[in-house]
């Protein structure tokens, strides 16, 4: 047997797994999105946009807002770990900030449900402190709850990447700016962050895609309309067995995720040029 054939044979099991468990179902559901009662057509998409345009916008806004907040929070954490001068505070933060990474989304949803509800822990604390009257207490279990959950859960992941990148930049570049009189904020924003911009972008894009696919948080925190696309997909499949519209929603999610990946690819090509 020739070496080439042998090589192909060796890689075949892996290829088969990818082809049958990943590519084929993806194509099937993409094709399924264009099938209405056995015939090809735009029916599923018309129905999707009729019913779920609000949810699509809701999803994009929620995930984009969360991404921005995650970016700010992880720059703040990474920046303090890199530039902070109080060794004890730095050590405590370094130990503390990673914990949410190890907590599943569903548990995050559960925790925040009890924390953010109208008579949840947060409002109770405020009322006991006299900062709020029971009448003014409002539930945060809507879009705000989802954002809080996403930011809480995803910030450690991005901060981990960003802090690692910050730790590996040449310290002399920071000291050179200090030598010329840069304040700590300018050091962070003008010297440190630009040098880790690529890592930050990668982390945020991975977070964006992850948040696009979370089902438990919108179901736990925001059981109302408008809601996120994942909840709609689950609803179409579980309540109606309507795979056509579910496939169309899935394809729209894929396009949204792919569009940020495209931004990343374009940026990385530009950087290499």
């Amino acid at each position: 047997m020739s070496r080439r054939l042998l090589g192909l044979l060796l890689v075949l099991p892996a290829l088969a797994v990818i082809a049958f468990l990943f590519i084929l179902p993806l194509i099937m559901s993409a094709v399924g999105a264009f099938q209405v009662e056995g015939a090809f057509g735009w029916g599923n998409f018309t129905k999707t946009f009729d019913l779920y345009t609000k949810d699509i916008i809701f999803t994009v806004v929620i995930v984009s807002l969360s991404t921005v907040l995650i970016g700010i929070a992880s720059i703040a954490i990474g920046g303090y770990l890199t530039l902070g001068e109080h060794p004890v505070a730095v050590a405590i933060l370094r130990w503390l900030y990673r914990w949410p990474m190890f907590i599943p989304f569903i548990v995050v949803g559960q925790i925040l449900r009890t924390f953010l509800a109208k008579n949840g822990m947060m409002n109770n604390t405020f009322i006991n402190l006299g900062l709020l009257t029971p009448l003014d207490a409002v539930s945060f279990l809507d879009w705000r709850g989802i954002v809080v959950a996403f930011v809480w859960k995803q910030t450690p992941f991005v901060a981990l990447l960003v802090a690692g990148a910050m730790a590996s930049i040449n310290r002399d570049t920071i000291e050179a700016a200090r030598n010329l009189g840069a304040s700590r904020l300018r050091l962070l924003l003008e010297i440190v962050v630009p040098q880790v911009a690529m890592t930050l972008t990668v982390g945020l894009i991975l977070s964006f895609v992850t948040m696009m696919s979370v089902l438990s948080v919108p179901l736990m925190i925001n059981a109302q309309s408008p809601t996120m696309l994942t909840a709609d997909i689950a609803f179409r499949v579980n309540s109606y067995g309507d795979y056509g519209v579910a496939n169309a929603l899935g394809l729209i999610s894929l396009v949204l995720a792919a569009s940020v990946a495209w931004i990343y690819l374009r940026a990385s090509l530009k950087e290499r040029a």
């Binding site: 002399d172 570049t173 050179a176 700016a177 200090r178 030598n179 010329l180 009189g181 840069a182 040098q195």
Partner: protein, 377 residues
């Protein structure tokens, strides 16, 4: 040059954890002076520079600029600019942005920044490179951008942390002279850290030799080269040949007793405080003169050693001989080559023979042990 105490260091000490890095550094530097801090790695010279720059605080002592205590001032309030060994250029900024950043921080208007950056670029020969990123520059250009960035804020004192060590050997030679000429033209005070003896000699008005966190000697290049204050300085300045002799001071002469490889002789004391007893003698290979054993002539004061040529090589310009004198080997240069195995006389003139009393109990200086190893290498 008048020592008006423009920059003063008084009793500076620094420790890193339990390690004492610097002890009792006293230094006074005049305005416009070019001072080289010279020493081997780990001697504390970079620590001293970072302490001057304000990145670390001393554990004792004070730093004064124009009689003003700056010991605990932040780095940017000292009128000093540091050029880093790694250049530390900001990779995301262009040449013009790198040079102009210090001015931007000071709130200088945009128009004026552009003018001053352009002036700095033409001063340093960086014209037409303003839009380049550091990654698209050569080593020499990066070095000049780093220098331009430091000079742009018009500092009173320029701190240079081995700025030439990352350059090609050939470029380094020209940059030495360019840097020195620029420093003279701007009249700026410069403190240059280096481990390269020749670089320090060529560039500096004054050389401060550091050893184990202390100043071993300071003086003009001629001073430290021709009148080393200790065996360490002599060895560091290239007098790597080491021999142990016995002698006694007699009037203004130091009489050296005959030894296994040398006849008795005497050299002028010349103000040196040498006590009777064993002495460490050091000299440079190029200071020695070689003769065939039978053609020795009396040529002024000095000591003649007799030995046998062990090896000869041609490093360029002269022949370098390894000569065995009894138990030790020394190196000596000559215009012509002597055959290995031949008997020779090595004459060391009095002014090139550095003599030091051996410290009590401690035998030779550590470096003398390694120098005999270098002979074999």
């Amino acid at each position: 040059m008048e020592r008006n105490g423009f920059l003063e260091l008084r009793g500076i000490a620094s420790r890193y954890g339990a390690t004492q890095v610097l002890t009792d550094i006293d230094l006074s530097i005049a305005k416009g002076e070019f001072v080289a801090l010279l020493g081997s790695s780990g001697c504390g010279k970079t620590t001293l520079l970072r302490l001057l720059a304000g990145f670390i605080g001393p554990s004792a002592g004070e730093v004064k600029v124009r009689h003003r205590d700056v010991t605990y001032l932040p780095p940017d309030k000292r009128g000093m600019a540091l050029v880093f060994q790694s250049y530390a250029l900001w990779p995301h900024m262009t040449v013009a942005q790198n040079i102009g950043y210090g001015l931007k921080l000071k709130g200088v208007p945009r128009q004026e920044i552009a003018t001053r950056v352009a002036a700095m670029q033409s001063l340093l020969g960086l014209d037409g490179l303003d839009a380049r990123k550091p990654s698209a520059l050569s080593g020499g250009q990066r070095q000049r951008v780093a220098l331009g960035r430091a000079l742009a804020i018009d500092p009173e004192i320029l701190l240079l942390d081995e700025p030439l060590s990352n350059l090609d050997a050939r470029i380094r030679l020209t940059v030495r002279h360019e840097l020195r000429a620029l420093q003279k033209r701007l009249g700026i005070t410069a403190i240059h850290v280096t481990h390269d003896r020749e670089e320090a000699m060529v560039m500096a008005d004054r050389i401060v030799i550091l050893n184990a966190g202390k100043i071993a000697q300071q003086g003009t290049p001629e001073d430290v080269y021709n009148r080393p204050a200790s065996a360490f300085v002599a060895a560091f300045m290239g007098a790597e040949n080491v021999l142990f002799l016995n002698g006694t001071p007699q009037g203004d002469q130091f009489a050296i007793a005959a030894g296994p490889a040398n006849a008795a002789g005497s050299v002028p004391l010349g103000g040196r405080a040498l006590a009777a007893g064993p002495v460490e003698a050091r000299f440079r290979p190029e200071a020695a003169r070689l003769f065939a054993a039978d053609e020795i002539a009396a040529i002024g004061p000095g000591i003649t050693f007799r030995g046998e040529v062990a090896a000869v090589s041609y490093p360029g310009g002269h022949w370098r001989h390894v000569v065995r004198l009894g138990q030790t080997e020394i190196m000596a240069d000559a215009e012509r080559a002597f055959e290995p195995g031949g008997r020779v006389a090595v004459f060391v003139p009095a002014e090139a023979l550095f003599l030091f009393n051996l410290p009590e109990a401690v035998s030779a200086f550590p470096i003398s042990q390694t120098s005999s190893g270098k002979v074999h290498a």
